[in-house]
């Protein structure tokens, strides 16, 4: 589903590459934690998957497409196969929960009927039934993140990317979000989650890829956060 072949990414004006010759393979339906300190290359990894950047060297394949060669006008199509969740939720403050989720479908041209069917379904899946008419600022942080997950998942993407999704949440709420991501993963969606949250990684016992200074220093099935073999 996601495949990095000897990928190097150097940003203009920076002598050291953000990613240095890494090769990673993520299969369909996998759940992968991407761990490492700030500046280790996690964000660059995710941005390459989203084709916000092209790699400097090497090849990146996402959902069967080689993103190096993907024409700009085809990028929107690629992104419809990828859902994205961020630490800061990124909800539109002037729209209700339902509208926020529906927005993702509206702007890719889905019909009103389809939106009407799918959005409540997705809100139910993330546990927000009955809160569709609330505004984002009337919700708790955990609930806001659920809205963001609903928005990322409403188009049933093949891949879900989560960049520190629990970074702004307390531990109990974080567990709820992790359960939600796990449920989404069980529907067959590949999940890649960058995180600093060691307790979550330790609890979930999923594959862990650790980056350090642009290198993959660990790739472990059912791993934990810290260095353990």
């Amino acid at each position: 589903m996601i495949r990095f072949e000897k990928v190097t990414k150097t940003y203009p004006g920076h002598p050291h590459p953000a990613l240095d010759n890494i090769s990673v393979d993520v299969e369909k339906g996998e759940f992968v934690f991407l761990v490492g300190s700030s500046g280790s290359g996690k964000s660059t990894f995710l941005r390459l998957v989203l084709r916000e950047y092209r790699p400097t060297q090497g090849r990146v394949y996402v959902a069967g497409k080689e993103i190096n060669r993907l024409a700009s006008w085809k990028v929107p199509r690629l992104r419809r196969d990828i859902g994205t969740v961020f630490q800061d939720f990124r909800l539109l403050p002037n729209k209700t929960v339902t509208e926020n989720v529906a927005f993702a479908l509206q702007v890719i041209g889905k019909s009103r009927k389809e939106i009407k069917d799918v959005v409540p379904e997705t809100l139910e899946l993330v546990g927000l039934t009955g809160k569709g008419d609330r505004m984002p600022d009337e919700l708790s942080g955990g609930e806001q993140q659920r809205v963001a997950v609903a928005r990322a998942f409403v188009n049933r993407p093949m891949i879900l990317i989560a960049d520190e999704p629990t970074g702004n949440l307390d531990p109990t709420t974080s567990v709820g979000i992790m359960k939600l991501l796990d449920r989404i993963n069980r529907t067959g969606t590949t999940v890649v989650m960058a995180t600093h949250d060691s307790s979550i990684v330790d609890q979930m016992r999923k594959r862990v890829i650790e980056l350090d200074n642009g290198h993959v220093v660990r790739d472990q099935a059912q791993g934990v956060y810290g260095h353990q073999v």
Binding site: P76, R80, R90, I108, R112, N155
Partner: protein, 303 residues
């Protein structure tokens, strides 16, 4: 495609950036009006040149009955005409010439001054009153003195008019007005382009959250740019309508109303020429806003 979002965004965008949009509309209005005026002046110059011949021409007025010039005891005779023609034909400076009868001169006059003067039982002017003329086109407009002096003294010639003396100042004034209008318009067009660019930058900034999400969920570039393009189109249309109105007012009150009465000897442009000016403005207006929008949305909204 679901366009509900696009229309709400369009409305919001127009309200949110109202002062910038007004600035764009006003600048467009003035610059388009000036472009339109430039077109009108140019048409006016062409029309004047058509009526009087171009600047290369000189006109030889032949004697007529009751000519005020003492060298003309009576109307020009056929023999005198033949003599004059020989002189004109043999002159090396003459590129071309043609006779114009009194009747043709009368028709031209009618076109300028209207039928009333020339009709009825006792018309003020008849073909008899109009002189016959020879219109001479020169090879080199600077070399008019030779032919003028050659023809001047001949029997049957009342006077020689170098049309450049009549037309040059009028054409000169028209051409100057045209250039003043077009140069001012060009400066304002640059101002309009900069304003459009600024407006887009502000709008893109105001919508950065929405735009970020749209890019992430895979909205097409066109879809993201559409509200911007529609905003540009709306401001262009308002600008064009205002400029069209101003030009129509100039045409109606300036030309049809006043110039036509007080400066009758000039053949004035009509609504047909106005339509051309309007068309120019209607094409230019949307181009001026849509082109920078297309370029800048590509820059600011890059996927």
């Amino acid at each position: 495609m679901q366009l509900r979002y696009v229309y709400t965004e369009l409305g919001q965008g127009l309200r949110r950036n109202l002062s910038m949009h007004l600035a764009v509309i006003l600048t467009l209005f003035v610059s388009l009006t000036l472009v339109g005026m430039g077109v009108l002046f140019q048409q006016q110059a062409t029309k004047a040149a058509e009526q009087w011949g171009n600047q290369l021409q000189i006109t030889v007025f032949l004697c007529r009955n009751g000519d005020s010039n003492p060298v003309c005891p009576s109307a020009v005779t056929d023999a005198q005409k033949a003599e004059i023609e020989t002189v004109v034909k043999d002159n090396p400076e003459v590129a071309d010439y043609h006779f114009e009868s009194s009747e043709t001169a009368l028709e031209k006059a009618k076109e300028l001054y209207g039928e009333e003067l020339f009709s009825g039982d006792n018309p003020a002017i008849t073909a008899e009153d109009m002189p016959q003329t020879i219109w001479i086109t020169l090879d080199d407009p600077e070399q008019f003195e030779g032919i003028t002096s050659a023809v001047q003294g001949l029997d049957g010639v009342s006077r020689v008019q170098d049309m450049r003396k009549v037309i040059a100042p009028i054409l000169g004034a028209l051409s100057m007005l045209q250039w003043v209008a077009l140069v001012t318009a060009a400066v304002l067009v640059v101002a309009a382009l900069l304003l459009v660019a600024n407006t887009i930058r502000l709008a893109a900034f105001a919508r950065r959250k929405e735009i970020g999400i749209m890019r992430l969920v895979g909205a097409s570039t066109l879809y993201i740019a559409l509200p911007f393009l529609l905003e540009a189109l709306v401001t262009a249309i308002i600008g064009v309508v205002l400029a069209g109105g101003a030009l129509a007012a100039v045409q109606q009150f300036g030309i049809e109303g006043r110039g036509d009465d007080t400066l009758k000897f000039i053949p004035w442009i009509g609504w047909e020429e106005f339509r051309l000016a309007l068309l120019t403005v209607a094409v230019l207006g949307p181009l001026l806003t849509l082109l920078p929008t297309l370029v800048l949305t590509r820059k600011y909204l890059k996927v």
